[in-house]
């Protein structure tokens, strides 16, 4: 049996991934996180009588904290298995990637462990976030020269 024939055989027996189901749960869980964030935002705006601009970072920090706490308690990864992109895409997913890396490497100590591994997964987002914002900045500058 050659490799092509093998791939054909393997494809016919492949367990079905539940794409629609995954998308549905991602929508629901992602939506719940969104509603929760909106609630927290309104709460800060009303209780502390501040503008949306001022309340937004407080809301973000609250969500990040909750995500870290749930990761530490071993709940977030179980939620994520069901929620998929619903918990992966929001800022809570980024917080989870850093916390889980930190927890994982605590056995190697503060420097060689937590310090150097915390950004193991999240580092990509930061690197390309910075690179793409620098690129966009250049593009914007060039446009303003002609605009």
């Amino acid at each position: 049996m050659d490799h092509k024939e093998y791939d054909q055989l393997a494809e016919t027996l492949k367990p079905v991934g539940h794409k629609m189901k995954n998308a549905f749960f991602a929508f629901i869980y992602g939506g719940i996180i969104g509603i929760l964030a909106q609630g927290v935002l309104e709460f800060f705006m009303n209780v502390y009588d501040i503008s949306q601009k001022e309340a937004t970072p407080m809301m973000t920090i609250t969500l990040v904290f909750m995500s870290c706490l749930l990761t530490g308690l071993g709940i977030y990864d179980k939620l994520a298995q069901k929620a998929g992109a619903g918990t992966f895409i929001p800022i809570t997913g980024f917080a989870n990637s850093m916390t889980s890396s930190a927890i994982d490497s605590q056995s190697e100590g503060l420097i060689m462990g937590i310090g150097s591994n915390m950004f193991k997964l999240g580092g990509t987002v930061i690197t390309y976030g910075i690179v793409s914002s620098a690129l966009l900045g250049v593009i914007r500058y060039v446009i303003t020269l002609f605009g």
Partner: protein, 335 residues
Amino acid sequence: MSLHFLGNSVTLENVFIASSGTVCGPLEYLGPLGSCFDKSIQDYHYGEKSFEKAERKMLRDALDICLKRERLKYHDVDLYLGSDLLNQITSVNYLAREIPKPFIGVYGACSGFALSLALGSLLVEAGFVDKVITMVSSHNASAERQYRYPVEYGVQKKATTTFTATGAVTTLLTSQKHPVKVEAITLGRVIDYEQTDANDMGRAMAPAAFDTLMNHFQDLKRSFHDYDLVVTGDLSMYGHQILKEMLQRQKIDVVRYNDCGCMLYDLSHQSVFQGGSGCACSALVTMGSLYPQLKDKKLKRVLVVSTGALLSPMMSAQKESIPCIAHAMSLEAVE
């Protein structure tokens, strides 16, 4: 007698299994074979500061149980062989510091169980040594850390994923007569069917199992009918279906065949995706469940084909396909 390979296989006369020690993790304990194991741990840390140390502690327990059964001390054994999944085969190498006898560490990924037993058997058969201990272990969390993602990382796992079994197993081989013998072994070749998905090991490894099984049957002129049971190591539900289909296409009558990854867990109730994997998977099933059944003559002869995906996460990141291997050994109840 002279030891001579027929193709990739060799039959043995004087290698017996004298004792074993099995320690399993929490999910393995809750599985259908839970009561078969000597000891179980309920916490992945097992009182240690890291998962790697916990794995080593399990291995030490399994070794002590195995030796105690035969009232032996560490220095009564001539040679130790060991295999595990971690880089630099950490668990066995670090445990070997406590062993006052020669030690050989081998790596065969999840096929480490059959590989170390096969090597040990050859050395006993050749008369170089009289008592050999083989040790294997795997730990779900330490393997996840090394091969996949941090344990608490919230990523949705694919339907084809397998679950690394937590456990440690030691086996004492000897040339003195005991109820179960290692009757034949077939060493595997490295097979690569250009599979690249590290989350689909069953599909990557099935061709290696196929190759070893075919060689075993051809070399020794046997078939599935010569065995009461044929098990593969950790092809999982998906991989074992592929293998079955491959064999049937070759007009081979597949009977009494199962996969250790499907036997170790209750796939319909435990969340282990396609089933178990890891060195401990085939080792726990073989030494925890099959070996006692052979001893009690409930089974006459079984073939264990431990499968291993020899991937390195670094080479996977460089987009290389996964080399795989499978080693087979036939265990037989002695009259």
